[in-house]
């Protein structure tokens, strides 16, 4: 444990520049959106306190906005506002809106009627009543709303890294993808501390007496503005093209680090989620992205792969990895899973992914159609001899594979099947397997080598480009270390690849990563 703590500290001090940047961005994002939420929510709350008839519908609408899943909301924003700060701020603002509107409304409605009557009877006009009586008296309740909104925003702002808006989410999601606990904690701990500190400060403010509150309220907007300005501090260097890389890619030797050290690529880079990256490239928000070679969106968005002419991306052959204890428990399992071995090539996998991602067919249908076309499909026996638990990571390809395995097991054996799909990134899935929460899931040889085993860099370099050596090495090591067996690869190689829009690639004459580097160097 102490070793772990120390290395977390080391990680944080090594990455202190990035950490500081991300923290500034995080605070900035939180407060810019809060500022706008107050600017919109406060007047709206006042309005519905005056016109009670519309209060129900306004509050209901803000409530509905609040229930939209944050990732989905960020996704909706991209076609409207692109990627980066704008959509993130708007999304955060939407989440912050409800508590502010509701508390402003509740606060004003809660002002004692006799006090309002006295104000009116003394000859105050509506504005004077609002600013001198209603708002000051409602202020503790309004501040409570702002406090809730702030804490919500600190949390949701971690997701902003999905659409290239930065913040502490870069570390958190990068860490989850890379199986790097220190990286996760380096993002999660500051985010939590930020939430606690801001909550505490606002609680203090909320409990001030009227006299002090008046003074503080004058300072508050200035304070908000300054904190909002934090977002503008860290500015990345510019280049003629913009790249969008996933948090995972950013931290990998066979990713951004390799691009820098092997190719010497210098490109303006923003961190973005896999879920929106392809679309952003299609919409010309990004020029170069780090995709997967079998991704269906490659086909859908008419992107082309830049040739990895210096071979920094190792092969990623997919194969089911199974607990050895499970193979003993379910003797027929290995044979059934190997039915799929060598059956799916790169182009077939891209096509299957295209069907789910772009044609919106269910993974179940895609899996069934494929099995039928290969004469592998058998009707489920509805067996009851023990439950095989299948896991999958949270992306389409894995869902399809999980469905295929489910049908094969049900059709060929008497086992029952439980699927636990969508287990986040590599780390979550692998931990579930090691801890006997699932029996197997499809993994990739490259991931097994570079993410899960993490051998010395020298050694990794030697074997990473050889498909067979890699497979043998991971299989041996996994059996020794984790009692987990790699079955025969399915056939396709889902490796990392840099991609551009086909049209742009042609226009610029950029077909390989070396071309890209030269183009960037010539067009500074």
């Amino acid at each position: 444990m102490s070793e772990n703590q120390q290395s977390l500290w080391q990680f944080m001090s090594e990455q202190s520049d990035k950490l500081l940047n991300q923290t500034f961005q995080h605070v900035g994002l939180t407060f810019i959106s809060l500022l706008f939420a107050v600017l919109i929510g406060l007047p709206l709350g006042i309005l519905i306190a005056r016109k009670r008839k519309i209060s129900g519908s306004v509050l209901a609408f803000a409530g509905v906005l609040q229930t939209i899943p944050s990732i989905a909301l960020l996704g909706f924003m991209i076609p409207l506002l692109g990627i980066g700060a704008k959509p993130a701020i708007v999304a955060l603002l939407i989440y912050a809106l409800l508590p502010i509107i509701r508390n402003t409304y509740t606060g004003i409605v809660g002002v004692d009627a006799s006090i309002r009557e006295a104000a009116k009877a003394m000859g105050m006009n509506n504005w004077q009543i609002l600013f001198k009586v209603e708002l000051p008296l409602a202020m503790p309740v309004i501040l409570a709303g702002i406090r809730t909104a702030t804490v919500i925003n600190v949390g949701v702002a971690t997701l902003a890294s999905y659409i290239a808006a930065g913040g502490l989410g870069e570390f958190i999601f990068g860490g989850i993808s890379l199986n790097n606990t220190n990286m996760i904690l380096a993002g999660a701990i500051p985010a939590a501390v930020l939430a606690i500190v801001l909550d505490g400060l606002l609680a203090l403010l909320q409990n001030l007496n009227f006299k002090r509150l008046r003074k503080v309220l004058l300072v508050l907007p200035i304070f908000l503005l300054i904190l909002s300005g934090f977002y503008l501090l860290p500015k990345a260097y510019g280049s003629s093209l913009t790249a969008g890389f996933t948090p995972e890619f950013m931290g990998r030797q066979d990713g951004d680090l390799g691009l820098k050290s092997v190719y010497g690529l210098k490109i303006h880079t923003i961190v973005i989620s896999d879920a929106v990256m392809y679309k952003a490239a299609f919409e010309k928000e990004l020029d170069v992205i780090s995709g997967y070679s079998t991704d269906g969106r490659l086909k859908a968005f008419d992107l082309t792969i830049l040739k990895d002419d210096q071979r920094i991306f190792p092969p990623y052959y997919a194969a089911p990895i199974v607990r050895e204890s499970s193979l003993k428990k379910f003797p027929e399992l290995e044979k059934v899973l190997n039915l799929l071995a060598g059956k799916i090539s790169d182009s077939i996998m891209t096509d299957l992914n295209y069907k789910t991602d772009q044609l919106h067919q269910s993974p179940e249908k895609v899996a069934k159609d494929f099995l039928i076309s290969r004469n592998l499909f058998k009707v489920s026996k509805n067996g009851k001899a023990g439950i095989v638990r299948i896991g999958s990571k949270i992306f389409g390809e894995q869902y399809i594979l999980a469905e295929m395995y489910k049908m094969l097991i049900q059709g060929n054996t008497d086992y029952k099947v439980a699927t636990k799909t969508g287990l986040g990134g590599t780390k979550i899935c692998f931990d579930a397997l090691v801890n006997d929460q699932i029996d197997f899931y499809p993994e990739y040889t490259g991931t097994g080598l570079l993410v899960l085993l993490q051998p010395k860099a020298e050694f990794a370099k030697q074997i990473a480009h050889d498909k067979d050596k890699t497979y043998r090495y991971v299989n041996d090591e996994f059996r020794k270390k984790f009692q987990i067996k790699w079955l025969t690869p399915i056939g396709f190689n889902n490796s990392y690849a840099l991609m551009m829009r086909r049209k742009q690639s042609k226009e610029l004459g950029v077909y390989t990563i070396t071309d890209l580097k030269q183009y960037l160097d010539n067009n500074k």
Partner: protein, 317 residues
């Protein structure tokens, strides 16, 4: 001067105030008396346009209030509420300064006038920097009164001003209220459901029922010349104690036998029968002096005899 002419107000299908008319002359205190829901508060609030009448006219100091800007009208009329309506986030000084500030008074003037009014209302200056929440109910009510009086408006409206106070505080503050120099010249309309309060403070009482005026008149008119059974029954249970309070020694002076004063100290004959009887609890007799200087020695038997004869005389008129 306030003039209310055929004013009506309804809420939905309920007629809250029906064709009410009355006049309050300068310096007079008219009390609107009645059970809850009789329309007295609605009537009061129409005078400073907190409520807009459906029909009829109201004139304050000769001007039609419908033609004035409501804010301007209200700044010129003092208003005291049952629950004080003090701003909890303002100090006592700031509460008192609300209307002067709205009228654009200078700081110095506000300060000197605030000090003056607070002294007249027997509040210590140290309370000026306190918040209303730190004061007792009686003190809060005084601040409410100070706030209404600070600009010395000629018209004062009061909605159950003592309603939220306990009985003891209420009696003492009422007595004080009666003696306030500051209120002597004011044209006042006050709402209450407390019969004793009305009879103690009113120049004239306007008895209301179901949105209509039953009777307007002096306390004595109401007691001895009720115009309807409602008016009679309304006061029936309290009649005797009210009589003791409103009949003064002047009223029964002629009915008391003359006698030589036995004591040097004397009471004014403007005091009520109630007060004299109260004092006779601790002394066998008292000397009372009427405005023309005549003095009479009064014992319990004499005063009760005179009171009875006065009552009989009134009921025969």
């Amino acid at each position: 001067m306030i003039k209310v002419e055929a004013v009506s107000k309804s809420y939905g299908n309920t007629l809250a105030v029906k064709q009410v008319s009355f006049e309050v002359s300068e310096g007079e205190n008219l009390i609107l008396l009645g059970t809850s829901g009789c329309g007295k508060t609605t009537t009061l609030k129409m005078i400073n346009r907190l409520i807009t009448p459906d029909a009829g006219n109201i004139l304050v100091n000769g001007k039609d209030i419908a033609k004035e800007k409501p804010e301007v009208l209200r700044r010129g009329i003092g208003y005291v509420l049952q629950n004080t309506g003090l701003f909890p986030h303002y100090t006592v000084a700031e509460n008192i300064a609300i209307v002067p500030k709205l009228l654009g008074w200078e700081k110095e003037k506000i300060k000197s006038r605030s000090n003056e009014i607070i002294e007249k209302l027997h509040l210590s200056e140290k309370y000026l920097s306190a918040y209303p929440g730190e004061l007792s109910g009686g003190q809060q009510q005084r601040v409410g009164l100070a706030r209404a009086l600070v600009t010395d408006p000629s018209v004062l409206l009061m909605d159950e001003p003592f309603g939220a106070l306990d009985n003891v505080t209420r009696t003492s503050i009422r007595k004080e209220f009666k003696g306030l120099e500051e209120l002597k010249r004011k044209t006042m309309v006050m709402v209450t459901h407390d019969i004793h309060e009305a009879f103690e403070l009113a120049d004239r009482i306007c008895l209301m029922n179901k949105g209509e005026i039953v009777q307007i008149g002096t306390p004595k008119d109401l007691l001895y010349k009720p115009v309807t059974d409602f008016a009679k029954n309304f006061l029936a249970s309290e009649k005797l104690s009210l009589e003791f309070k409103i009949i003064s020694m002047d009223d029964i002076w002629d009915l008391i036998p003359s006698s030589e004063p036995v004591s040097a100290t004397s009471l004014s004959s403007s005091v009520s029968v109630w007060d004299v009887m109260d004092k006779l609890q601790s002394a066998p007799s008292l000397v009372v002096k009427n405005p023309s200087g005549e003095q009479k020695n009064i014992a319990f038997s004499a005063i009760t005899e005179a009171f009875k004869r006065y009552q009989k005389k009134q009921s025969h008129e």
